[in-house]
């Protein structure tokens, strides 16, 4: 099992970690979730029959793990504040949480966009991260998310629009202030 882990880790780990990190925007949580991904992958590796590429399979599991976390966190928040709806508000991590070091050293525009990623739904966020941060093709993104390619394109368009609307709203608020 160690040999399988070594091979998968060497080939995909940093990409997997980065995908999860940008989804949840919390380094410690990303470390926990990537660990969950490997547990699921290694526990079911013998049943992987190669219907998809190994890479697609790994990222599909990462996506499932991340979504399960979101849903669970959403329900947990709902328990605390019964009116909270993570899919509408999407703010799992508060907007004003300190930026991670990698982002903080970048331009204001990048920092702003990073914060506004939380305004996207998990589907939109997944598509934007896979397409533009991980540089996956539309087909690869579709395979990972189990979307049709047309749904990837629609979700991508909606995600970009959500980002723009949210950023414009904040700029306007800043201007008014």
């Amino acid at each position: 099992m160690k040999a399988v882990f070594d091979r998968l880790y060497d080939a995909y780990h940093q990409d997997l970690f980065q995908f999860i990190f940008y989804m949840v925007k919390d380094r410690a949580l990303a470390e926990d979730l990537v660990q969950d991904v490997y547990i699921k992958v290694l526990n079911s590796y013998s049943s992987f029959r190669g219907e998809s590429s190994e890479k697609t399979w790994l990222f599909s599991i990462a996506r499932h793990v991340t979504y399960d976390y979101f849903r669970s966190a959403g329900r947990k928040r709902k328990r605390i504040m019964d009116f909270f709806d993570w899919q509408e508000k999407g703010e799992l991590i508060p907007d004003q949480a300190p930026l991670p070091e990698e982002i903080a050293v970048k331009s204001e525009e990048i920092g702003q966009l990073y914060r506004h990623l939380d305004k996207c739904t998990p589907d939109q966020k997944s598509v934007l991260i896979l397409r533009y941060i991980q540089s996956f093709s539309i087909q690869e993104t579709a395979d990972i998310l189990n979307f049709s390619t047309s749904k990837v394109k629609t979700t991508q368009h909606r995600g970009l629009k959500t980002l723009r609307t949210s950023m414009l709203k904040e700029q306007k608020k800043g201007g008014d202030g």
Partner: protein
């Protein structure tokens, strides 16, 4: 959105920095290896049959009632070979295969029950219970798939007025997860006490109970409870431990109770495995803002890596229109549709998907067939009461 604005956002997304995991690889493997095959499959223990009389009666009632619910599906078993094979091989039994304890299975062989129960098999495969009458009720179970990506709901028809808690406390004996190619039932050693008036179920949990490690284990735990109890309008689960010190629920922590919320919108696809003896409809969650049209589109996509398969075949398309609580589905496909198991499975997966989107009836319009299986497609079809009936193999 103007192209220039779009390009600017895309460029900024592409400028986001690479983020590296700086933690140690060997440490990571150490942590992972502690959880690999943590839950070894153990020979299934037969729960003690208490109260014995109630259990014997319940078992007999189950067998007599099931055909009334699901025995009216006269259609041909052709089409999807894997599903048919799964149906033929179905080991969905109301007793375990445990040879050490035969008392439970013996109770299932009540006089006159065997022939009725075996008749169910002859009628082909239905993935739903359409509607029960007022004298019947349904007990719900749920298990995760082998890869623990999805939670599959199960339905056990029982006589109304019986003590549901007694049924629930025997549930592990009815779930043959290993044969079905699924993960173990999570609550094998847990006992339940339902209070439908107070919309509450109390779980008595043994001290060694664990929901597993990892940030997502709690989701499977909650989903399993949700699918088992929200159909009974249960809104809260209270936890009790044997030692009275509270229950450690892994990532959830120690909590005295937990509310249950209705499930989100879902697309019901076909779950079938090579090694499993039967197949199921598995709900795949969708985002809350998705439309029914999007929910139906998802039925055209398989996730073979997770043993999940499309239910709407190539060339079959629908255009959705809403009329109050009725979903109108105009057939717009290019292909003809055959009266076979594949079509029945498609209809049932659409009905269940429509139900999760809040519809009460579905009317198929311009559909190439007037009848398939038990479904008269010229009339609006009510959404089913439950999915994945567990039937006795005669």
């Amino acid at each position: 959105m103007r192209d220039k604005e779009k390009k600017q956002i895309i460029d900024t997304l592409r400028s986001l920095p690479q983020v590296k995991d700086t933690s140690n690889k060997d440490d990571l493997y150490q942590r992972i290896s502690l959880n690999l095959h943590q839950k070894k499959r153990q020979p299934k223990r037969q729960r003690k049959l208490a109260p014995v009389l109630g259990t014997l009666m319940a078992a007999a009632i189950l067998l007599i009632i099931i055909p009334v619910y699901i025995g009216n599906a006269p259609f041909e078993n052709s089409g999807d070979q894997s599903a048919n094979q799964a149906a033929e091989d179905s080991a969905a039994e109301f007793s375990t295969n445990d040879t050490a304890e035969e008392s439970s299975s013996q109770t299932m062989e009540a006089p006159g029950a065997e022939s009725k129960a075996s008749g169910v098999q002859e009628n082909g495969e239905s993935y739903v219970i359409q509607q029960s009458d007022e004298n019947k009720t349904i007990m719900y179970g749920a298990v995760a798939d082998r890869q623990q990506q999805y939670v599959i709901p199960l339905a056990f028809p029982v006589s109304a007025g019986e003590d549901l808690s007694a049924y629930y406390n025997q549930l592990d004996a009815y779930i043959n997860a290993e044969d079905w190619g699924l993960s173990d039932y999570m609550f094998e050693d847990v006992s339940f006490s339902l209070d439908e008036e107070k919309e509450r179920v109390t779980m008595n949990i043994p001290d060694d109970f664990t929901i597993g490690e990892g940030a997502t284990a709690s989701y499977l735990f909650e989903q399993t409870l949700t699918k088992m109890f929200t159909p009974h309008n249960i809104r809260e689960v209270a936890f009790e431990s044997e030692n009275g010190n509270g229950v450690e629920l892994g990532p959830i922590g120690v909590i005295p109770e937990m509310p249950l919320y209705e499930n989100e919108k879902e697309s019901f696809k076909l779950h079938t495995t090579e090694q499993g003896s039967r197949s199921f409809l598995v709900p795949v969650p969708n985002e809350e803002q998705t439309t029914i049209q999007e929910g139906l589109e998802a039925l055209k996509l398989s996730e073979a890596s997770f043993d999940v398969y499309r239910t709407i075949p190539e060339g079959v398309d629908f255009s959705a229109e809403t009329e109050g609580s009725q979903l109108l589905l105009h057939y717009t496909g290019n292909n003809g549709v055959l009266d076979n198991q594949e079509t029945v499975t498609m209809i049932e997966s659409i009905l269940m998907t429509a139900k999760s989107y809040g519809f009460e009836t579905v009317h198929f319009l311009q559909f190439p067939l007037e009848q398939t299986g038990k479904y008269n497609l010229t009339e609006p079809l009510p959404v089913p009461e439950a999915v994945n009936p567990i039937r006795h193999e005669g």
